[in-house]
Structures are given as C-alpha cells and as structure tokens.
Point group: C3
Amino acid sequence: MSKQNLQLTPEGRLKHFLTIEGLNAEILTEILDTAETFESMPKGVNKYPVLMGKTVVNLFFENSTRTRSTFELAATRLSAEVLNMDIERSSTSKGESLLDTINNLEAMNVDMFVVRHDQSGAAHFIAQHTPPHISIINAGDGQHAHPTQAMLDMFTIRQHHKDFSTLKVAIVGDVLHSRVARSQIQALNMLGVKEIRVIAPKTLLPAQIESLGVKIYLDMTEGLDDIDIIMMLRLQKERMNSAFLASESEYYKCFGLTEERLSLAKKGALVMHPGPINRGLEIASAVADGEQSLILQQVHNGIAVRMAIMSMIIQPK
Amino acid sequence: MSKQNLQLTPEGRLKHFLTIEGLNAEILTEILDTAETFESMPKGVNKYPVLMGKTVVNLFFENSTRTRSTFELAATRLSAEVLNMDIERSSTSKGESLLDTINNLEAMNVDMFVVRHDQSGAAHFIAQHTPPHISIINAGDGQHAHPTQAMLDMFTIRQHHKDFSTLKVAIVGDVLHSRVARSQIQALNMLGVKEIRVIAPKTLLPAQIESLGVKIYLDMTEGLDDIDIIMMLRLQKERMNSAFLASESEYYKCFGLTEERLSLAKKGALVMHPGPINRGLEIASAVADGEQSLILQQVHNGIAVRMAIMSMIIQPK
Amino acid sequence: MSKQNLQLTPEGRLKHFLTIEGLNAEILTEILDTAETFESMPKGVNKYPVLMGKTVVNLFFENSTRTRSTFELAATRLSAEVLNMDIERSSTSKGESLLDTINNLEAMNVDMFVVRHDQSGAAHFIAQHTPPHISIINAGDGQHAHPTQAMLDMFTIRQHHKDFSTLKVAIVGDVLHSRVARSQIQALNMLGVKEIRVIAPKTLLPAQIESLGVKIYLDMTEGLDDIDIIMMLRLQKERMNSAFLASESEYYKCFGLTEERLSLAKKGALVMHPGPINRGLEIASAVADGEQSLILQQVHNGIAVRMAIMSMIIQPK
C-alpha cells in the first residue's frame, strides 16, 4: 500500500501521521486551523476531553527532551492516558523484535503510538502492521521524516505571514542527514511558498535534491538574498572531522548564522531552528536569542500542533 | 508466618498476591470471574473508581515491557495514582537496602507495591516487613513465582474451555529456570486439570519436579500426544553454550514448536507463551502467529486479570 | 538581584523556594501551618484542586528515591500534571546547555520546576533566567542548600515540641559537604532555637562555620550533653579513604550514633536523618529503627510540606 493511502482513511481523513508526502494542502491547512483553536483557548482552560478514555504510548527509541515532552503534554491535555515506554529498560533489550513489542502493546488496548526511531521507515513499518483501530504518529524516523516538526514550523510561519504564496524560504545546513529538512520542504511546497532554497556545503547536500523542488546555493551571501524565512538545521557534531566537514570553526565561518549574515536577508526576516541549537556552530547566540528568532515560539507551538494532529486522527470529521 | 497466612486476611480474603501456593480454587475462580467483569465492560468505559485515591508503586528491579505496562494500565484504569520507580536511578544505587527503600516509600502513604525482583522471595520478604495497610503484588521474583502471569494464563484458557477438569496441558521448555512454570503448575492443579505434563531436556528439569504433580516427558512426540493446551516457556539465550544446552539449532530441532509438532497434539490444540518469544528458537513464527496461538490474547487479558487482583485486594468482600 | 528578593514577590510572598536564607520566621511558620492542614485532612481525601491545570516539571539531574517521589506525589495530590524529566535520556546529552533546556521546557507552558542538580547555585541560576510566570523549587543544589528537607525537618520537630525557643539541637557528621546542614542551621536559627551545635571531625567542618551561629564540638560525649534533637547527616562513602576520613570503622567508633551515645543526650531526645541512612556507619540500626527515631516520619511529612510550599507559591495570599 502506498504511504498516501496508508495514512488516510478511504474518506481522505487522517488515520496515521507518518510523513507530509501524499497529504494535501487541505489537510495541512486543517491541521493549522485546528492547532489555532487549541492555541487560542481561554486562559485557565488547558484540558480537553478529546482523548478521554484513550491510551497513547510514547515509544521513543531515541533521546529527545522537547519532542517527547510536547507529545506527553499534548496527549495529557487531551485527557489521554499516556504510557512512556523507556526502550532501554524494555523487553527489546532481551532481543524481542520491534514488531513483537508493538504487537504486545497493541494487545493492551492502546489507541495511538507516538514513535521515534533511528531507522528510516520505522513508523511506516509499524503502521503497515497494526490493526485498524490503532494510529501511529511519526515523531522522527532516521533521516526520513519528522512531519510534526514541519507542521509546527508551518504553524509558526503562519502566525507571522498569512499568505504562504509570497514567501521565499531558505533551509540552511546539514540537509543530507536531516529528517526535518525533508518534511519541511514537502510542507512548504504543498502550502505553496514562492521559493525554497537550500544552502549547504556540497558534502551536506543529498543527490538530486533539486527534484524536491528547491534551488541549491553553496554560499550564504547569495542564498540569503531577499529571503523571508531562514530555517536553520542542527549540525550533528559527530559529522565533524569526518569526510563531511573540515572543522567546526570552518563551518561556522562559512555557514553559521551570525548577525551580519542575517542582515543579508530581507529586513525583518524570521529565524527558525528545530533545536537543540549548537550556539556558535550553526547559529550565533545573538541571533538565536534575538528579536527575529522564533525558536522558542516553535517549541511552544509544538503542543497545540500535536494536539491538533492527535484530535484529527481520533475524531475524523 | 507461612506464605498462605501471609497473603490472606483472617477471613480468607486476598491481602497480598505473592504466589499461587496456599491459595485455593475458590479464590482463583473469583479472580477469573472478577477479571471477566472488567473484560466485558461496555465499549468506551475504561475507568473504574475502585482505586480512587490510592497510590500504587511499580517497583521494578528487572526489565519488562509487558508486565510493567499492563500493571500501569491496570492501576490507571482503576483510577489509582501510579508511581513508577526506576530502580537504576533510585537511592538503591547509593547502597540503600531494599527494606529501607520500601520503608521510605511506605512512609509516603502508598497503598500497594507491584514488585519485580531478580531474587526469589523478594516480594514475600517485603510483604513480611510492611505494615498492615500495605499490599504487595508479586510481578515475578527470581525463579520462584509469577502468579499474575499464571492467572492470566488460566483466564485465557477458560475463555476457550469452560471445564478445566477435562484438559491435558503440556508445559514445554526451560522449566528449571522458570518462575512462570512453577506458578502455572500450581494454578492448573488447583483448578483441577486432568493432566499436566512437562516436556524438556533433562538438563532443564528441576530435581523432583514430579512432586508438584506433573508427568515428565523428554520427547515432544510422545509428550504432545492428546494434549489440549501447549504452554511454551521462554528460553533464556544466556543459558545457551552452557552446561544446559548444546546449541540453539539443536534445541529447536528437539523442542521447538513447529507446525509439524503442533499437529501431534489434539486437533485445534491451543498454544500459549508468556513472552517475549524467541522466534525460531523455542517456537516457529508460523505457530506463534497462527490460528491456534493465544499469545497476544494472553497479553490482552493481562490487564483485566491484574485489575481483578488489585480490586479484590483493595475491596475485600 | 539578591536571593531574598528573587524568591519573594514585592508583597513579600513566596515566588520561588531556593534557600532558607533571606526568608523570615513568619514565612517559615506559614509553611509549617499550611503543611499541617494538608497533614490533618480527613481520611480518604487525598486530592486538592490547588494546582489544577498547572504543569510541574521534576527536573532531576541527580538520583533520589524519596525526594523525587515525594515531589511527584505532592504535585499529583494537588492535581497538577507532572512531567518527570529523565536527564540522562534528554537532549542535554546532546550537549544542550542547562539554560536552553529550561527555555525549551518553559516554552511548553509549564508553571513550576522542581530542580535537583549537583552544582551549587543551579536552582538560583534558573530562577534568575525564567520569566515571571514560572516558579522554581530547589530540591537540592550541590553542597549549597536543600530547603524543603530543612522545612520537613522543622515540621517534624514541631510535631513533638511546640516551642522552638527551648530546644538544643545537635547536627552530627559531614557538615562540610552537606547541603542539608546549611539549610537546617538557617531554619533552626530563624525559628529561634536556643542552641545549635555541630559535632564532626575537624576534616568535615567548613571554615568559619561558627559565623552561621553554631557551636562546634569535636566529640560526641560532650556535644550530645543536654541535647533535645539529634540531626544526623548522611556520610558519603566516597569521602572514605580520602583525606577526610581514616576509615569506616574509625568514623563509626568516634561519631556513629549508637544506643550508648544516644543515652548521653537528654532523656527521650529525638533522632532525625535525611536519608538514605548508612546503617553501621553513621547510625546504628537499633537507633535508626528505635522509638526515638523520627526518620520515617520525616519522609512521611515530606509530602505535606512540599504540598504546602507548592500551594503557597501558586496561590499567594
């Protein structure tokens, strides 16, 4: 079954949320609209009965402060029971297969899995093998996709620019290894931005990235010209001293987002980053903490966006 | 004090749940009947006020996906507050004794401990040293007992065979190191099955196992003949290449449950396994995932059975 | 900003709870009085709506059975959502700074952080850098302070002695490395006890400890004479075989609290210890488990005292 069909019901509603690929602008816009209702609820109200009686399992095979916590808070604020599975301590350390672990958890009458895994395709694989009453949300799989991150980025952009069609967006950094970049490019294209650029050294660009509908720049000065939104990527320090990169200082000199570089973009251009940031490596502290930075707003928006996706899955219209 | 007296009130009601030993068919049947009421509740109802205001501590000194999760879900669905104690991160790593840890937790006004420990007798030891208002449930202690697993197995059997007295049951595998097997044999005998066989290589049979009321078979062909229920045991891979076993392939050749072997039992014989399963070691995937397998049903039933035990302890009739 | 101002609102109400220093007898007494109302609630009532809709993050960078559990129970019993941050598994292992972790958590709309950290001043540092709607409770920072422990000690003392002004208190053991001792001395002085003594070998006494308003004793016989309350400190075994201490047996011989030593204090003198205790190192089992020991009562009281502090912070009068 194709991914598109897998994550939509026959009526075209969300069943799983695995990747932006195969969705459409209407669904993405509905996610953003739904998130807005959660974001704008009256102060003091922070619990909704949407997932009352449902059990959400946070199945994290990889570390993450903000993603796990935002999913836990999102599910709790929708009144779900949340079961955090600490995979190091679980039966998988006894050699049980991923599928057997999932099957066992399913047998406990749970309703939704939020899965983070270091293997590309893990969430998709699980979704293919679960019975119809269970939904899977991909919280990041290998270098493949991180679609909830992309949606909270779109939500954050829309808080500042109502009209995507006028926007020029630059994605900067280690595109090669970034699941975030893939999902961002798909979402930005689907929502109809004017132009997407990727700016990176050649060694950090995937082959045939142009086929995704982006323009390649190997240079920040040229790449940032006339840009509305700069989406920085996290640089994995473990890539340093490898074939990919010369050195930290060299990288920062060429691709780090400093205040000077930021001034090359359109006046008031907005700066985003999925976190955690490496200060002084891919971004200067003055930019990360500056007025044009939306970084903490992104984290904040993560809860409303994840609530929106969970509630659309559980309550298909 | 004997174990029997320890886990029952003077009126013969459940106070702790440490071992099947010393209980009686009436109590076991009441557990099964109570679990049935939780199992058959109307869809959408999944929370009961039985443990409202009570605090249950999951005290796990050993890894377990399914056991810890089912206890957590069971307690949550009975409206308890659940405190998961991650023992690696706790004060016991500072050298505090088990008893001091327990005493400290008790001082926090908790009501029930679910204990898993690699030492046989740990749950019993704790129950001997806790004040009267606290109850202990044994979630597996060393090679001694795993009574809630045995009860969910009995529940799963009863879903298919109303009358235990006609059943011939075979327990297959590493009986020597299995806390599950001990509890299963006691429960099956107490509920009056017709015959219990254990099938294993000599090196994996405890001395004087016959005294528990079982027949010994060293051979699958003979042992499976006319059997209604096949209860497979998990083989600890760390026993391989030891004095106990020749090799994985040798073991599978002699004692693995393949489709051919399964056909030696009674037509439609049911297959059970406490999990996690070792595919291709003690059981073939075709059997584990086949029509006669109850393995995932066992996991599913674990929640209702544990809810039943917890509620009988908290609300003695 | 001074610590005093930092943890109080302009009206003098609790905003953070970082250290006893800079508070006053009126605030401490209000904490004790509030804790008493939680302690004496009718049986069966164990949940209060005080923190309904609030999110409390347990941010523990160090192990602790009892402190983390009591904070989790306290927050839960005040109806808060509790998010336990397991720091080993979090993004800080990717090299993210403490402040970035905190900023990210804040962005998720949380209301209170309970922080334990091995660096002195960590809670204070965080409080200086959080926006006004967030409160910090110090659950132990390095060798600096452990103010909630000190307050539960004060509460436990007051259950037995209404009038602090008549009491002679001895603090015994590794004062040099103890955050508990610092907070205890400040609280005891603020509540006006008659006399505070510290009893320790010279190598475990901080320089100029007298300036805190205590008398120094290097000898148990002299130091315990006429004492009402003996507050033992935990000895870190890792200090042994160092420059600080000769040997375990030597330490126990000179400073261990045995029954004989206890009899040197005032008749009926009470024994306290913040736990976890080292039996046979700083305290004899007969004393720890004896009639004059308040050790488990201290743990028990920890919940009510922490509920009191949390509710005073959230609901300033």
